[in-house]
């Protein structure tokens, strides 16, 4: 029995020592990288935003001028509205992440809407669409997503906010209609939401963002 106890103790001690060493290594790396990782995430987010609304047009800190919204037609979970201003005047609002129902799983979008209701642009943040078919919504794969820039609820007329196959103005892809159809419908809903909520969106008091947006 004492022999067994001794063995258990030694084994546990060895494991414990390596636990401490492992935790030390991980903590040291964490300390060394945490700041840089947060900065990367912030930069990646801002780079996306600046593709929709030009950097020069914004002079406020987007990450501190945020409100959290809940609209089941735009996203199942909460999403954020980042408000872009210049000299205190509203310039645009960035909805992120807006979710369009995808073929496989939700497509996360970032939608930038200018104060006058025209689209600054739309970008896909992440998606699980079929490579080679539905993934053409990604700006890295094709220019399709750029066709939203400058559009608004009146341009094209509301009944033409559809893919061409359904009588609208937006292209679909050969072999993948579901994906573009869903993205077009969701962007239209985002514009409608903006038209309804416009006043409140810019007035609501900003919240403190306790973490850097992942998108």
């Amino acid at each position: 029995m004492p022999e067994l106890k001794r063995n258990i103790f030694i084994s546990a001690a060895i494991l414990g020592i390596f636990g401490i060493l492992g935790a030390t290594l991980v903590s040291l790396t964490w300390t060394a990288t945490a700041e840089r990782i947060a900065l990367n995430q912030k930069q990646a987010f801002l780079n996306n935003v600046f593709k929709l609304i030009d950097k020069e047009e914004i002079d406020n800190d987007l990450l501190t001028d945020v409100i959290t919204l809940h609209a089941p037609s735009l996203a199942k979970t909460e999403f954020k509205a980042y408000r872009a201003r210049k000299a205190g005047k509203p310039v645009a609002v960035i909805f992120s992440p807006v979710q369009a129902p995808g073929y496989a799983s939700p497509i996360n979008l970032m939608v930038g809407i200018r104060h006058d209701g025209t689209l600054g642009g739309v970008r896909v943040l992440s998606h699980m669409e079929t490579p080679g078919l539905g993934d053409k919504i990604d700006a890295e794969r094709s220019d399709w997503i750029l066709s939203f820039t400058g559009k608004s609820l009146g341009n094209p007329p509301l009944e033409q906010w559809k893919v061409k196959k359904d009588g609208g103005v937006f292209d679909q892809f050969t072999g993948a209609t579901i994906t573009p159809r869903s993205v077009v419908a969701t962007v239209r809903k985002a514009l409608e939401y903006y038209a309804r909520e416009k006043e409140n969106l810019f007035k609501a008091p900003a919240q403190k963002l306790d973490e850097v947006p992942m998108h």
Partner: protein, 231 residues
């Protein structure tokens, strides 16, 4: 038992290639081999973990008792993978975003615990590090070959996304067949990975057989050539 450095290298790169012969680490191998750069990124991360974990495990091999060695190996490997993941997130942020879940999954790559158990726990530190390097490079080369093949056949590009790894200057490295090339989508989809790996394994067998025949030839009379066995 000591293995010569030459043997360690040729085992890692070819004779006991972890992806083509041992068939270990298939999960990342098949999932991340859709482009050459993704393959290179994951391959290098795996190599880094292999070298560090092999070195550590070899260093502690005489102190850790047999009965707790596996938990200790797993702890060492998991710590290194976490460190590598954080480092990649900090310095190769875009690539990290693409490789996503597969970097933490290096923990479960059987190659790593396999080399720890089969090699590092029985050999001195320098050899173990060399083994980690060769095994890692062997794995990386297969990932890159498979990634390059799938990328070229599937979307008609080579080295797309080089800028994710080497910075904006590397954008010019990537080659594209142009927008007219529609690509064979199958190659990009998961089945394409299985077909591609199958073909690479077959190719390795053919080459090995050729080499074996060539080695035999001087001994045999050149007349008796048996019908080619491989189809």
């Amino acid at each position: 038992m000591s293995t010569s450095n030459r043997e360690i290298i040729s085992n890692g790169l070819w004779n006991n290639n972890q992806a083509l012969v041992a068939l270990l680490g298939l999960c990342p191998l098949l999932a991340v081999s859709n482009t050459l750069i993704n393959g290179l990124g994951l391959g290098l991360a795996t190599t880094l973990v292999l070298i560090s974990s092999n070195a550590t495990i070899s260093f502690i091999r005489n102190w850790v008792r047999q009965e707790v060695r596996l938990p200790v190996f797993v702890l060492v490997i998991a710590s290194f993978v976490t460190a590598v993941e954080l480092a990649m997130n900090a310095w190769f942020h875009d690539l990290h975003k693409i490789l996503g879940i597969f970097i933490p999954l290096i923990v479960t790559n059987c190659t790593i615990v396999g080399r720890a158990e089969a090699f590092a726990s029985r050999n001195p530190v320098p050899q173990s590090m060399l083994d980690g390097l060769s095994m890692g490079m062997g794995f990386t080369l297969v990932l890159m070959t498979l990634g390059g093949l799938r990328e070229f056949i599937g979307q008609g590009t080579i080295l797309a996304g080089a800028h994710l790894m080497f910075g904006e200057a590397a954008r010019s490295l990537s080659f594209s067949m142009g927008a007219d090339y529609h690509g064979l989508i199958l190659a990009i989809l998961p089945p394409g990975a299985f077909f591609g790996l199958g073909l690479l394994i077959a190719l390795k067998h053919v080459i090995d057989k050729r080499n074996a025949q060539r080695a035999d030839k001087p001994a045999q009379a050149p007349t008796a050539e048996p019908a080619a066995a491989e189809g």
